[in-house]
């Protein structure tokens, strides 16, 4: 939603490690993060800040990490999964990596990596990711025609 980017990030977890030298806050254990309409869950979530102290990057890992966000008040939730999810806050871009899957309304996208641009609502999917365990991660899209 419009106000998501300027909303505070609220996060709950079992443990937090603050590394002042690296400028990171690493939350581990059933991590549940909210920012406005965005929700991100995983086993570990790392928040990185710029030198000025702004949150620049949020990386979640898990089996699998999950993200959802409401693109606009009347649009259905966009949902994404991946072994790794990277939210580039300043670019408003979400990277779903390794067993990546995105559901946007009736459309679904899967592949080794799926990029979702939140504001433009553009999806880019790629298949050349090193799949682990030999799992096929070709790009597949299911686009449902508008009724």
């Amino acid at each position: 939603l419009e106000g998501d980017a300027s909303a505070p990030i609220e996060i709950a977890a079992d443990r937090l490690e603050l590394d002042d030298q690296a400028g990171t806050a690493v939350y581990t254990g059933d991590v549940d993060m909210r920012q406005g309409s965005m929700k991100l869950t995983g086993q570990q979530v790392t928040i990185s800040r710029t030198d000025q102290g702004d949150v620049s990057r949020i990386e979640a890992t898990g089996n699998r990490a999950y993200i959802e966000q409401k693109p606009s008040p009347d649009a259905p939730l966009a949902k994404g999964w991946g072994r790794t999810i990277i939210y580039h806050t300043l670019e408003r871009r979400v990277e779903l990596i390794n067993q990546a899957e995105l559901h946007r309304g009736q459309d679904t996208f899967t592949g080794a990596k799926v990029d979702y641009f939140l504001d433009r609502r553009v999806v880019e999917a790629t298949s050349n990711g090193e799949s682990d365990g030999g799992q096929d991660q070709r790009v597949r899209m299911t686009l449902t025609p508008q009724q």
Binding site: A5, S6, P8, I9, E10, I11, A12, A13, D14, R15, L16, E17, L18, D19, D20, Q21, A25, Y27, I47, Q52, G53, D54, V55
Partner: protein, 193 residues
């Protein structure tokens, strides 16, 4: 005929003046004397010494004054070699030379001055980085430069703030850890309250 009192001679006046002057000086002298505080004899046992208005400084191997403790009143009990300080204020330098300030309502120093345990509104802060850590009881191992809490702790670095059931700080590694029921609040910078 009216009875007249004999006029006192100058010598008498002089004697009177000296007596009054002596009284004033004695009064001034008495008001400056500070009666020492009560000798503490509580459950901690009989002290062998106590000090008032104390500044303790410890030097590291390089001769650097890397730890200081200031307290209005310090008491040592010989049977457990414990030292208790009222409202202590500690200054600690980590191995990068970064300053940490610690304080509490009461502090105890174990045998040979370690660990330092701060009880009651225990507060730790790193002025350089803007970190502030608050808990009820904070242990500081002044040899390994590791601090830990026994209970709930809060970490703030405005505008972000976090809480957990237990706190650990490793000064030399600039690492802090909250464990158990952790909640974090990270607003965008401009939204600082």
């Amino acid at each position: 005929m009216a009875m007249r009192l004999p006029r006192p001679s100058p010598r008498v006046w002089l004697a009177l003046l000296l007596i009054v002057l002596g009284g004033v000086l004695t009064f001034i002298e008495q008001s400056n004397v500070r009666t020492p505080g009560p000798v503490p004899t509580d459950s901690a046992g009989e002290p062998d010494f106590y000090l008032e208005g104390v500044n303790l400084t410890r030097f590291d191997a390089q001769g650097r004054p890397h730890q200081r403790l200031a307290t209005p009143r310090l008491v040592h009990t010989p049977h457990n070699d414990m030292t208790r300080a009222e409202t202590p204020k500690a200054r600690l330098l980590d191995n990068d030379g970064a300053l940490w300030l610690a304080s509490g309502q009461e502090g105890t120093l174990g045998a040979d001055g370690n660990p330092l345990v701060l009880r009651g509104d225990a507060h730790l802060e790193s002025p350089g980085e803007g970190w502030q850590l608050d808990t009820n009881v904070l242990h500081i191992d002044t040899v390994t430069n590791h601090a830990w809490s026994e209970g709930e702790a809060h970490i703030t670095q405005p505008p972000q703030r976090m809480r957990g059931d237990k706190l650990d700080v490793w000064f030399d590694d600039d690492l802090m850890r909250l464990t158990g029921n952790v909640h974090g609040f990270h607003p965008p910078k401009e939204q600082a309250p």
